[in-house]
């Protein structure tokens, strides 16, 4: 008994603040979170501002300066093109940053879309069970059985591959996994005593689902979803590679890599630069996500 009272006494001064505030503060106090945040903000600002501020048009060709290597790498590098140029003399830095814009937009919104769709379907299926569960889960199975590439080729081949349609296709392909995970967690949680307690208090089903269960099971899933942002950005590259991604001349990571493939032997940097940015972005997001998750666990674990 005395041992269980102790952490409480220690938590005294902490206890006055709101839980969410405490989680953010704990996360922010960690070095990983700060590094992640700094890198992410830097990349975001660069992506948003650099192409405009520097006045370098990512689509402007300059054949005379084609295949300039990045700084200090090989012969003929130039301060004007810190990351070199591609086969048409376009500036790689501004191309990569503009590509980052689109890739990030596609990655994040796709992930949010499939997380939301999956979570909702899983929540209803898991909470109500029975017939609702059967119908929703068979729907999920049907969706799972269609290979993503076929789906993408069909939809994007028929309509024009615009950014919203790409987001829709990728989101549609990704949600079943989330629905499955959500369903099984909700099924486990809804049998617990506190859910019964809320029922006895007179809470409606929707109230229990959205105010009690969702806040509990969504954060761990959102943490997994952060990894999916990366996956989706790469999938967009895959679509770009097939020619079903964002159409040239708009640069995205996908079509930059696809272009660079032909010059891998004599101009490795074209295909490499998007990858470097991808790694930086994802590492920073993961660092922040991991720090948040740790803070969350620490606070809810009783620290």
């Amino acid at each position: 008994m005395t041992s269980t009272d102790m952490p409480l006494a220690m938590a005294g001064p902490e206890a006055g603040r709101r839980i969410s505030t405490r989680i953010w503060q704990t996360a922010f106090a960690s070095v990983e979170f700060r590094i992640g945040l700094a890198v992410f903000v830097l990349l975001l600002l660069a992506a948003l501002l650099y192409p405009e501020l520097s006045g370098i048009d990512p689509t402007k060709m300059n054949i005379r300066a084609k295949l300039t290597p990045p700084l200090f790498m090989g012969e003929g590098w130039d301060w004007a093109h810190p990351l070199g140029t591609d086969q048409l003399g376009r500036d790689m830095l501004s191309r990569a940053l503009v590509g980052l814009r689109y890739s990030l937009l596609i990655g994040v919104s796709t992930t949010v879309l499939m997380l939301l769709a999956g979570a909702m379907i899983g929540l209803f299926a898991g909470y109500f069970g029975g017939r609702t569960d059967t119908v929703l889960m068979r729907l999920t199975d049907a969706q799972l059985s269609v290979p993503m590439i076929i789906l993408a080729i069909t939809i994007l081949g028929v309509s024009r591959p615009t950014i919203p349609s790409i987001i829709l296709v990728l989101g549609l392909a990704g949600w079943p996994v989330y629905a499955r995970v959500m369903r099984s967690t909700v099924m486990a949680e809804r049998k617990k005593e506190y859910v019964r307690g809320a029922m006895v208090l007179g809470a409606t089903d929707l109230r229990i689902m959205f105010t009690l269960l969702l806040p509990l099971v969504l954060p761990p899933m959102a943490f997994v979803a952060v990894l999916d942002i990366a996956r989706m950005m790469i999938f967009e590259s895959v679509l770009g590679f097939l020619g079903l991604g964002v159409q040239p001349p708009t640069p995205t990571f996908g079509n930059v890599i696809a272009d660079g493939r032909k010059y891998l032997m004599n101009a490795w940097w074209i295909a490499t630069m998007p990858g470097v940015f991808l790694v930086l972005t994802l590492t920073s997001i993961n660092l922040m996500g991991a720090a948040l998750e740790r803070a969350r666990n620490a606070i809810y674990g009783g620290a």
Partner: protein
Amino acid sequence: MALDTTGATETLLSVRGLGVAAGDKPILTDISFDLAPCSILSVIGESGSGKTVLARALASWLSAPLRVTGGEIRFRGRDLVADPGHARSLAGREIAYVGGNPAGALDPTMTVGAQLVEKLRAVRPDIPAAEARAKAIRLLEAVHIPSAARRFHEYPFQYSGGMMQRAMIVDALISDPALLIADNITQPLDVTVAAQILKLMRELNHDFSTAILFICSSLPVACDASDEVMVLHEGRVVERQTPAALVARPGHSYTRELIAELPTLWQGGETGAGREIDRNRRAIMSVRGLAKAYEVRARGQAGVSRVQAVRNVDFDVFPGDNFGVVGESGCGKSSLMRLLTGLERPDAGSVFFEGENVAAASPKRLRALRRKFQLVLQDPYGCLPPQSPIGAILEEPLKIHRIGSAAERRDRARAVMAEVGLSDSLYRALPTGLSAGQRQRLNVARAMILEPRLLIMDETLSALDQTEQGKLLDLFDKLQAQHGFTYIFISHDLTMVRQVCSRIAVMYLGETVEVAPNERLFFDPGHPYSRALLSAAPTLEERRYRPEDCLLEGEPPSPIDLPPGCAFASRCPQAFDRCRAENPALRARGDHALAACFLNPDPDIALHETATETPHA
């Protein structure tokens, strides 16, 4: 490796100045005691006093951050602390350990017999398989498992809780240990089954001359079970005496306190019998012929079988009453709770709350009714939303019923926190750091914030230790005086019910077999099962009912294939032919006491149906 053999013949285990710490925090300090071969020593203490840590230290089963900081444990003269290799070779072979969670300790994918044989051959590889099997069956018989040879091939899930605990004892004894450490083995069991296990421990101690270190948290059980009792308090041994001497002349203030706080069944003291209740008014809750069956898929065969969880339940709860429902686990108490609160619909019968049938109310009406009756659940850890701050937990019911503005709700929550004795600084804290007692206070606060008329307590106190139970009972009293609540206590703890309840219903296999006022139930029970329960209740008092007279060996029949007739007939020493053919209904015995037994004289006004035959007296 000098063997210190002096004195080894007299003491089996000798602990000197043993200290165990978790990190820097000492758990056990300077523990010293001796254990002679073939004796039973009980170790008691409140939760957190280091009992289990002591047991694990002796069984060489400490895991980080726990570590031995000093002292020695001499087993047959050899120090186990200094020689961990030797200690490991003894564990499971010479020193056996039985824990309090048999269901978790048995592998669900192997038959019980295979596990026993595997255990034996792991520590004694030289024993051939056939011999090992014969030994396991012999021991299963020794612990009174019926048809042991057949049960040997069954899986743990086919065993009941009591039988699993027996199987675990066999698992410990199969290697012929010299010392058996029994850590809280009766805690999860029902009183009648626990009493049988205690009797068994005594027999085994006698037959196999195994020394037993019996660890438990209940003083009556410890005194019942052992030759000597050692009291552990805050990681120190404060006292060691024979049970009789301990009770008569406790030497340490903690022991005195423990004995003084011990609730009694018959010797007077505080009881719930004193209150004056007008039982001619309309009942606040009245239950009539309630029944609920669950369908379960039969194991290994097609089709479903029906488990009769609740049947023939009748009782009335009057305003201001403290109504108790007692019975062993599996008797349908929790199913009854779900029916009373409208969480599930009964198959038959009705639950009237202030004249309105809860069992037939529409979902919407039920939600509205729930403002008036609330439930406090059993598990203090599971029943609070794990990630909401305490203030939000308390405001939730108000939000659900759309009461007050945000500011009013906050004030109300703080007021209720003050009322149940939770400090105001906890408002934004998570329940994670709360002790079990504080959690139950929070639960009560959450239930009473809606100002209900009836509070149903489902085993609310069973997870708490004695001191904390007492404090909460005082709190319930105070709240009742202030708000005029009516309580229904669902419990397996007779002493608690004796202390607080004014009227008590006894349940057995889903049925109410007796409903009687407090005094009447404890001094003149009208059903043999009530007597059996009373005989098995752990108490230091002189018993009014001896277990030998009241209960036959065995466990309750399965609720799947209920025998015709009285469900208790198979364990009732007074059962006769009619009991096995016909199920007795509740009959009035005068003064608001009812019992369902043919042994009671036929009253003039029966509650349901007047029996046509003359009952055997």
